[in-house]
Protein backbone atom coordinates (compact mmCIF):
# COMPACT_ATOMS: atom_id res chain seq x y z
CA UNK A 1 0.00 0.00 0.00
CA UNK A 2 1.13 3.56 -0.64
CA UNK A 3 0.30 5.89 2.24
CA UNK A 4 0.46 9.58 1.50
CA UNK A 5 0.37 11.52 4.77
CA UNK A 6 -0.04 15.29 4.98
CA UNK A 7 2.07 15.96 1.90
CA UNK A 8 2.61 19.57 0.89
CA UNK A 9 4.70 21.01 -1.88
CA UNK A 10 5.19 24.62 -2.92
CA UNK A 11 6.83 26.17 -5.94
CA UNK A 12 7.73 29.60 -4.61
CA UNK A 13 4.49 31.10 -3.37
CA UNK A 14 2.33 28.66 -5.32
CA UNK A 15 1.06 25.70 -3.31
CA UNK A 16 1.06 22.71 -5.65
CA UNK A 17 0.05 20.23 -2.94
CA UNK A 18 -1.67 21.30 0.25
CA UNK A 19 -1.69 18.75 3.05
CA UNK A 20 -2.63 15.81 0.83
CA UNK A 21 -3.44 12.50 2.50
CA UNK A 22 -4.39 9.44 0.49
CA UNK A 23 -4.03 5.67 0.60
CA UNK A 24 -3.46 3.64 -2.55
CA UNK A 25 -4.33 0.01 -1.91
CA UNK A 26 -3.10 -2.96 -3.91
CA UNK A 27 -5.19 -4.32 -6.74
CA UNK A 28 -6.97 -1.10 -7.60
CA UNK A 29 -7.14 0.91 -10.79
CA UNK A 30 -7.42 4.48 -9.59
CA UNK A 31 -8.16 7.47 -11.76
CA UNK A 32 -6.66 10.78 -10.65
CA UNK A 33 -8.59 13.70 -12.06
CA UNK A 34 -8.14 17.43 -11.90
CA UNK A 35 -7.75 20.46 -14.11
CA UNK A 36 -4.36 21.56 -15.44
CA UNK A 37 -2.19 22.78 -12.58
CA UNK A 38 -4.32 21.05 -9.94
CA UNK A 39 -1.32 19.08 -8.64
CA UNK A 40 -1.69 15.69 -10.34
CA UNK A 41 1.83 15.55 -11.73
CA UNK A 42 3.33 16.98 -8.54
CA UNK A 43 1.58 14.28 -6.52
CA UNK A 44 2.91 11.51 -8.74
CA UNK A 45 6.42 12.96 -8.77
CA UNK A 46 6.30 13.23 -4.98
CA UNK A 47 5.36 9.55 -4.70
CA UNK A 48 8.31 8.69 -6.93
CA UNK A 49 10.61 10.86 -4.82
CA UNK A 50 11.56 12.90 -7.89
CA UNK A 51 10.88 16.11 -5.99
CA UNK A 52 11.24 17.13 -2.36
CA UNK A 53 8.09 17.66 -0.29
CA UNK A 54 6.86 18.12 3.26
CA UNK A 55 5.05 15.22 4.88
CA UNK A 56 5.48 11.49 4.50
CA UNK A 57 4.92 8.93 1.75
CA UNK A 58 5.28 5.27 2.68
CA UNK A 59 5.40 2.24 0.42
CA UNK A 60 4.39 -0.90 2.32
CA UNK A 61 5.28 0.92 5.54
CA UNK A 62 8.70 2.12 4.43
CA UNK A 63 9.94 5.40 3.03
CA UNK A 64 10.54 5.26 -0.70
CA UNK A 65 14.25 4.92 -1.45
CA UNK A 66 16.37 3.39 -4.19
CA UNK A 67 15.95 0.05 -2.41
CA UNK A 68 12.21 -0.23 -2.87
CA UNK A 69 11.49 2.18 -5.73
CA UNK A 70 11.54 -0.80 -8.12
CA UNK A 71 8.06 -1.57 -6.82
CA UNK A 72 6.91 1.56 -8.66
CA UNK A 73 6.87 2.01 -12.40
CA UNK A 74 6.11 5.21 -14.24
CA UNK A 75 4.71 6.22 -17.61
CA UNK A 76 4.52 9.88 -18.46
CA UNK A 77 3.50 12.03 -21.38
CA UNK A 78 6.98 13.58 -21.13
CA UNK A 79 8.32 10.04 -21.86
CA UNK A 80 11.00 8.36 -19.81
CA UNK A 81 12.49 5.98 -22.37
CA UNK A 82 15.91 6.44 -23.96
CA UNK A 83 15.07 7.97 -27.35
CA UNK A 84 18.31 6.90 -29.04
CA UNK A 85 17.95 3.25 -28.08
CA UNK A 86 15.72 0.69 -29.75
CA UNK A 87 13.20 -1.59 -28.08
CA UNK A 88 15.65 -4.48 -27.79
CA UNK A 89 18.17 -2.30 -25.95
CA UNK A 90 15.40 -1.18 -23.59
CA UNK A 91 14.49 -4.81 -22.94
CA UNK A 92 18.12 -5.53 -22.01
CA UNK A 93 18.33 -2.46 -19.78
CA UNK A 94 15.11 -3.29 -17.92
CA UNK A 95 16.09 -6.97 -17.56
CA UNK A 96 19.34 -5.91 -16.00
CA UNK A 97 17.96 -3.26 -13.67
CA UNK A 98 14.56 -4.55 -12.62
CA UNK A 99 14.59 -8.06 -11.21
CA UNK A 100 10.86 -8.38 -11.70
CA UNK A 101 10.92 -7.41 -15.40
CA UNK A 102 8.29 -9.34 -17.35
CA UNK A 103 9.95 -10.12 -20.63
CA UNK A 104 7.04 -12.13 -22.02
CA UNK A 105 4.62 -9.32 -21.28
CA UNK A 106 6.99 -6.84 -22.94
CA UNK A 107 7.38 -8.95 -26.08
CA UNK A 108 3.67 -9.75 -26.18
CA UNK A 109 2.61 -6.12 -25.91
CA UNK A 110 5.22 -4.97 -28.44
CA UNK A 111 3.93 -7.59 -30.86
CA UNK A 112 0.30 -6.69 -30.20
CA UNK A 113 0.98 -3.02 -30.96
CA UNK A 114 3.25 -3.96 -33.86
CA UNK A 115 6.11 -1.89 -32.49
CA UNK A 116 9.41 -2.39 -34.31
CA UNK A 117 11.94 -3.30 -31.61
CA UNK A 118 14.97 -2.68 -33.80
CA UNK A 119 14.27 0.97 -34.49
CA UNK A 120 15.39 3.84 -32.20
CA UNK A 121 12.34 4.96 -30.24
CA UNK A 122 12.82 8.55 -31.42
CA UNK A 123 12.05 7.36 -34.95
CA UNK A 124 8.60 6.06 -33.97
CA UNK A 125 5.43 8.17 -34.22
CA UNK A 126 4.16 9.98 -31.13
CA UNK A 127 1.38 7.43 -30.70
CA UNK A 128 3.86 4.55 -30.88
CA UNK A 129 6.15 6.32 -28.43
CA UNK A 130 3.24 6.61 -25.99
CA UNK A 131 2.54 2.92 -26.46
CA UNK A 132 6.15 2.05 -25.84
CA UNK A 133 6.23 4.23 -22.72
CA UNK A 134 3.23 2.42 -21.27
CA UNK A 135 4.55 -1.00 -22.32
CA UNK A 136 7.72 -0.34 -20.32
CA UNK A 137 5.70 0.69 -17.27
CA UNK A 138 3.48 -2.38 -17.52
CA UNK A 139 6.39 -4.75 -18.11
CA UNK A 140 8.68 -3.58 -15.34
CA UNK A 141 6.99 -5.96 -12.94
CA UNK A 142 6.14 -3.20 -10.49
CA UNK A 143 3.42 -3.49 -7.87
CA UNK A 144 2.29 0.08 -8.43
CA UNK A 145 2.09 1.47 -11.95
CA UNK A 146 1.91 5.25 -11.94
CA UNK A 147 0.79 6.90 -15.15
CA UNK A 148 0.73 10.63 -15.79
CA UNK A 149 -1.46 11.37 -18.80
CA UNK A 150 0.25 8.61 -20.79
CA UNK A 151 -2.11 8.85 -23.75
CA UNK A 152 -1.80 12.55 -24.46
CA UNK A 153 -1.42 12.92 -28.21
CA UNK A 154 -2.65 9.39 -28.94
CA UNK A 155 -5.70 8.89 -31.12
CA UNK A 156 -8.92 7.37 -29.77
CA UNK A 157 -8.47 3.92 -31.34
CA UNK A 158 -4.98 3.74 -29.97
CA UNK A 159 -6.27 4.62 -26.50
CA UNK A 160 -9.14 2.15 -26.69
CA UNK A 161 -6.74 -0.65 -27.54
CA UNK A 162 -4.78 0.25 -24.49
CA UNK A 163 -7.72 0.26 -22.15
CA UNK A 164 -8.61 -3.22 -23.34
CA UNK A 165 -5.04 -4.44 -22.91
CA UNK A 166 -4.84 -2.82 -19.48
CA UNK A 167 -7.99 -4.54 -18.31
CA UNK A 168 -6.83 -7.83 -19.80
CA UNK A 169 -3.35 -8.03 -18.35
CA UNK A 170 -3.44 -6.27 -14.99
CA UNK A 171 -3.25 -8.86 -12.26
CA UNK A 172 -4.84 -8.76 -8.82
CA UNK A 173 -1.71 -7.64 -7.03
CA UNK A 174 -0.98 -4.85 -9.50
CA UNK A 175 -2.20 -1.34 -8.88
CA UNK A 176 -2.62 1.35 -11.51
CA UNK A 177 -2.71 5.02 -10.51
CA UNK A 178 -3.71 6.86 -13.65
CA UNK A 179 -3.75 10.63 -13.99
CA UNK A 180 -5.84 11.68 -16.97
CA UNK A 181 -8.28 14.19 -18.41
CA UNK A 182 -10.15 11.49 -20.31
CA UNK A 183 -12.84 11.02 -17.66
CA UNK A 184 -15.46 9.26 -19.73
CA UNK A 185 -13.01 6.97 -21.48
CA UNK A 186 -11.56 5.57 -18.27
CA UNK A 187 -14.74 5.56 -16.21
CA UNK A 188 -15.54 2.07 -17.48
CA UNK A 189 -12.53 0.35 -15.96
CA UNK A 190 -11.29 2.33 -12.97
CA UNK A 191 -12.32 1.15 -9.53
CA UNK A 192 -11.86 4.44 -7.72
CA UNK A 193 -11.74 8.10 -8.61
CA UNK A 194 -9.61 10.65 -6.80
CA UNK A 195 -10.16 14.34 -7.46
CA UNK A 196 -7.57 16.98 -6.88
CA UNK A 197 -8.19 20.70 -6.98
CA UNK A 198 -5.73 23.47 -6.16
CA UNK A 199 -3.44 20.94 -4.49
CA UNK A 200 -6.10 19.43 -2.27
CA UNK A 201 -7.96 16.14 -2.51
CA UNK A 202 -11.57 17.17 -2.98
CA UNK A 203 -13.01 13.77 -3.84
CA UNK A 204 -12.16 10.13 -3.29
CA UNK A 205 -14.86 7.61 -4.12
CA UNK A 206 -15.18 4.08 -5.42
CA UNK A 207 -16.98 3.61 -8.73
CA UNK A 208 -19.26 1.02 -7.08
CA UNK A 209 -20.43 3.67 -4.64
CA UNK A 210 -21.07 6.10 -7.47
CA UNK A 211 -23.13 3.48 -9.27
CA UNK A 212 -25.13 2.80 -6.13
CA UNK A 213 -25.85 6.52 -5.88
CA UNK A 214 -26.76 6.63 -9.56
CA UNK A 215 -24.26 9.38 -10.35
CA UNK A 216 -21.93 9.35 -13.34
CA UNK A 217 -18.26 10.03 -12.83
CA UNK A 218 -18.47 13.19 -14.92
CA UNK A 219 -21.31 14.52 -12.76
CA UNK A 220 -19.43 13.63 -9.59
CA UNK A 221 -16.40 15.54 -10.80
CA UNK A 222 -18.46 18.55 -11.86
CA UNK A 223 -20.20 18.57 -8.50
CA UNK A 224 -16.99 18.41 -6.52
CA UNK A 225 -15.38 21.01 -8.71
CA UNK A 226 -18.42 23.24 -8.16
CA UNK A 227 -18.71 23.48 -11.91
CA UNK A 228 -21.28 26.04 -13.00
CA UNK A 229 -23.23 24.60 -15.92
CA UNK A 230 -24.25 28.08 -17.13
CA UNK A 231 -20.70 29.42 -16.90
CA UNK A 232 -20.22 29.59 -20.68
CA UNK A 233 -23.61 31.16 -21.46
CA UNK A 234 -23.04 33.76 -18.73
CA UNK A 235 -19.63 34.67 -20.13
CA UNK A 236 -21.02 34.94 -23.67
CA UNK A 237 -23.88 37.10 -22.42
CA UNK A 238 -21.45 39.43 -20.63
CA UNK A 239 -19.36 39.76 -23.76
CA UNK A 240 -22.37 40.53 -25.95
CA UNK A 241 -23.63 43.07 -23.43
CA UNK A 242 -20.21 44.73 -23.42
CA UNK A 243 -20.29 44.95 -27.23
CA UNK A 244 -23.80 46.45 -27.15
CA UNK A 245 -22.75 49.08 -24.60
CA UNK A 246 -19.76 50.05 -26.72
CA UNK A 247 -22.04 50.55 -29.72
Amino acid sequence: MIEIKNVSKSYGKVKALDNVSLNIDRGEIIGLFGENGAGKTTLIKSILNFISYKGEILLDGERITRKNIGKLSFATSEHSFFPDLDGNAHREFYKEHFETFRERRFDGLAEFFKLPLNKPIKKLSNGQQNQFEVILALSQGADFILMDEPFSGSDMLNREDFYKVLMGIIEENETVFLSTHLIEEVSGFISRAVLIKEGQIVGNISIDKLEQQGITLTDYIKENYHYEEDRVSKALENMLEGDRNNE
Binding site: L48, I69, E78, H79, S80, P83, D84, H97
Partner: protein
Protein backbone atom coordinates in the same frame (compact mmCIF):
# COMPACT_ATOMS: atom_id res chain seq x y z
CA UNK B 1 30.72 -3.67 -13.96
CA UNK B 2 30.62 -4.21 -17.71
CA UNK B 3 32.03 -1.53 -20.02
CA UNK B 4 28.67 -1.16 -21.80
CA UNK B 5 27.13 -0.27 -18.43
CA UNK B 6 29.51 2.66 -18.14
CA UNK B 7 28.65 4.17 -21.50
CA UNK B 8 25.95 6.82 -22.05
CA UNK B 9 22.55 5.34 -22.98
CA UNK B 10 22.70 6.61 -26.55
CA UNK B 11 23.28 5.00 -29.91
CA UNK B 12 26.67 3.48 -30.72
CA UNK B 13 27.05 6.12 -33.41
CA UNK B 14 26.93 8.88 -30.79
CA UNK B 15 29.38 7.05 -28.53
CA UNK B 16 31.83 6.52 -31.40
CA UNK B 17 31.44 10.16 -32.42
CA UNK B 18 32.41 11.16 -28.88
CA UNK B 19 35.42 8.81 -28.84
CA UNK B 20 36.67 9.77 -32.31
CA UNK B 21 35.99 13.49 -31.76
CA UNK B 22 37.80 13.77 -28.45
CA UNK B 23 40.52 11.40 -29.72
CA UNK B 24 41.19 13.58 -32.76
CA UNK B 25 41.34 16.74 -30.64
CA UNK B 26 43.82 14.95 -28.37
CA UNK B 27 46.03 13.93 -31.28
CA UNK B 28 45.95 17.43 -32.79
CA UNK B 29 46.95 18.93 -29.43
CA UNK B 30 49.80 16.44 -28.96
CA UNK B 31 51.04 16.83 -32.55
CA UNK B 32 50.94 20.62 -32.33
CA UNK B 33 52.83 20.48 -29.04
CA UNK B 34 55.46 18.21 -30.56
CA UNK B 35 55.88 20.49 -33.55
CA UNK B 36 56.30 23.60 -31.39
CA UNK B 37 58.81 21.98 -29.06
CA UNK B 38 60.86 20.60 -31.97
CA UNK B 39 60.91 24.05 -33.58
CA UNK B 40 61.95 25.73 -30.34
CA UNK B 41 64.68 23.19 -29.68
CA UNK B 42 65.98 23.50 -33.26
CA UNK B 43 66.01 27.28 -32.94
CA UNK B 44 67.89 27.12 -29.64
CA UNK B 45 70.49 24.76 -31.12
CA UNK B 46 70.81 26.90 -34.23
CA UNK B 47 71.36 30.06 -32.18
CA UNK B 48 73.85 28.29 -29.91
CA UNK B 49 75.76 27.14 -33.00
CA UNK B 50 75.91 30.69 -34.42
CA UNK B 51 77.27 32.20 -31.26
CA UNK B 52 79.92 30.06 -29.71
CA UNK B 53 80.52 27.04 -27.62
CA UNK B 54 80.21 29.20 -24.53
CA UNK B 55 76.55 29.93 -25.35
CA UNK B 56 74.16 27.57 -23.57
CA UNK B 57 70.68 26.77 -24.81
CA UNK B 58 67.71 27.65 -22.61
CA UNK B 59 67.06 25.63 -19.49
CA UNK B 60 64.63 22.76 -20.07
CA UNK B 61 62.16 24.19 -17.55
CA UNK B 62 62.11 27.44 -19.50
CA UNK B 63 61.55 25.56 -22.74
CA UNK B 64 58.77 23.47 -21.26
CA UNK B 65 57.05 26.30 -19.36
CA UNK B 66 53.32 26.23 -20.08
CA UNK B 67 53.80 23.67 -22.82
CA UNK B 68 51.38 21.21 -21.24
CA UNK B 69 48.67 23.75 -20.51
CA UNK B 70 46.74 21.86 -23.19
CA UNK B 71 46.02 19.19 -20.55
CA UNK B 72 43.95 21.74 -18.67
CA UNK B 73 42.12 22.73 -21.86
CA UNK B 74 41.45 19.07 -22.53
CA UNK B 75 40.18 18.64 -18.98
CA UNK B 76 37.67 21.45 -19.59
CA UNK B 77 36.61 19.75 -22.83
CA UNK B 78 36.09 16.45 -20.99
CA UNK B 79 34.03 18.14 -18.26
CA UNK B 80 31.81 19.67 -20.96
CA UNK B 81 31.49 16.26 -22.62
CA UNK B 82 30.36 14.77 -19.29
CA UNK B 83 27.82 17.56 -18.80
CA UNK B 84 26.59 17.05 -22.36
CA UNK B 85 26.18 13.32 -21.63
CA UNK B 86 24.14 14.27 -18.55
CA UNK B 87 21.79 16.33 -20.69
CA UNK B 88 21.15 13.30 -22.91
CA UNK B 89 18.82 12.23 -20.09
CA UNK B 90 16.72 15.34 -20.66
CA UNK B 91 16.84 15.45 -24.47
CA UNK B 92 13.98 14.01 -26.51
CA UNK B 93 12.47 12.55 -23.33
CA UNK B 94 13.12 12.67 -19.60
CA UNK B 95 14.92 9.36 -19.32
CA UNK B 96 16.44 10.73 -16.09
CA UNK B 97 13.15 9.55 -14.54
CA UNK B 98 14.10 5.98 -15.40
CA UNK B 99 17.63 6.44 -14.10
CA UNK B 100 16.16 7.74 -10.84
CA UNK B 101 14.15 4.54 -10.46
CA UNK B 102 17.03 2.07 -10.64
CA UNK B 103 18.71 0.83 -7.48
CA UNK B 104 22.19 2.14 -8.27
CA UNK B 105 22.06 5.89 -7.73
CA UNK B 106 25.56 6.36 -9.16
CA UNK B 107 24.90 4.66 -12.48
CA UNK B 108 23.63 7.76 -14.25
CA UNK B 109 26.78 9.72 -13.32
CA UNK B 110 29.04 6.76 -14.11
CA UNK B 111 27.47 6.63 -17.58
CA UNK B 112 27.96 10.38 -18.04
CA UNK B 113 31.54 10.70 -16.89
CA UNK B 114 33.35 7.39 -17.50
CA UNK B 115 34.10 8.11 -21.14
CA UNK B 116 35.37 11.68 -20.54
CA UNK B 117 37.47 10.51 -17.56
CA UNK B 118 38.89 7.68 -19.67
CA UNK B 119 39.75 10.05 -22.53
CA UNK B 120 41.36 12.47 -20.08
CA UNK B 121 43.47 9.69 -18.56
CA UNK B 122 44.69 8.72 -22.03
CA UNK B 123 45.56 12.36 -22.66
CA UNK B 124 47.44 12.47 -19.35
CA UNK B 125 49.40 9.30 -20.12
CA UNK B 126 50.26 10.40 -23.67
CA UNK B 127 51.28 13.84 -22.40
CA UNK B 128 53.61 12.28 -19.87
CA UNK B 129 55.08 10.10 -22.61
CA UNK B 130 55.49 13.20 -24.74
CA UNK B 131 57.22 14.95 -21.85
CA UNK B 132 59.63 12.01 -21.61
CA UNK B 133 60.27 12.33 -25.37
CA UNK B 134 60.90 16.08 -25.03
CA UNK B 135 63.35 15.58 -22.14
CA UNK B 136 65.06 12.83 -24.06
CA UNK B 137 65.34 15.03 -27.19
CA UNK B 138 66.66 17.90 -25.11
CA UNK B 139 69.28 15.83 -23.32
CA UNK B 140 70.31 13.50 -26.14
CA UNK B 141 70.20 15.71 -29.25
CA UNK B 142 71.91 18.69 -27.69
CA UNK B 143 75.69 18.60 -27.81
CA UNK B 144 76.93 18.48 -24.22
CA UNK B 145 78.78 21.76 -24.69
CA UNK B 146 75.51 23.67 -25.19
CA UNK B 147 73.63 22.04 -22.32
CA UNK B 148 73.05 24.04 -19.16
CA UNK B 149 73.13 22.23 -15.85
CA UNK B 150 70.17 19.87 -15.58
CA UNK B 151 68.18 20.14 -12.33
CA UNK B 152 65.21 17.99 -13.23
CA UNK B 153 61.69 18.96 -14.27
CA UNK B 154 59.60 21.53 -12.43
CA UNK B 155 56.15 19.97 -13.03
CA UNK B 156 54.14 23.02 -12.01
CA UNK B 157 55.80 25.12 -14.70
CA UNK B 158 54.57 22.72 -17.36
CA UNK B 159 51.08 24.11 -16.88
CA UNK B 160 51.78 27.76 -16.12
Amino acid sequence: MKIKNMMPLVSRKVIWTEIIGTGLIMLVMLADNHQRFSNDLSYELFMAGIYSASHKIADINVMLAGRFRMILYYLVLCVFLGIDNYFFYYRGSVSAYTMKRISNRKEMYVRCFTLPVFMFLIMLILSMLQLAVFVSMYLNYTPAVFLPEYHGIDFWRLFI
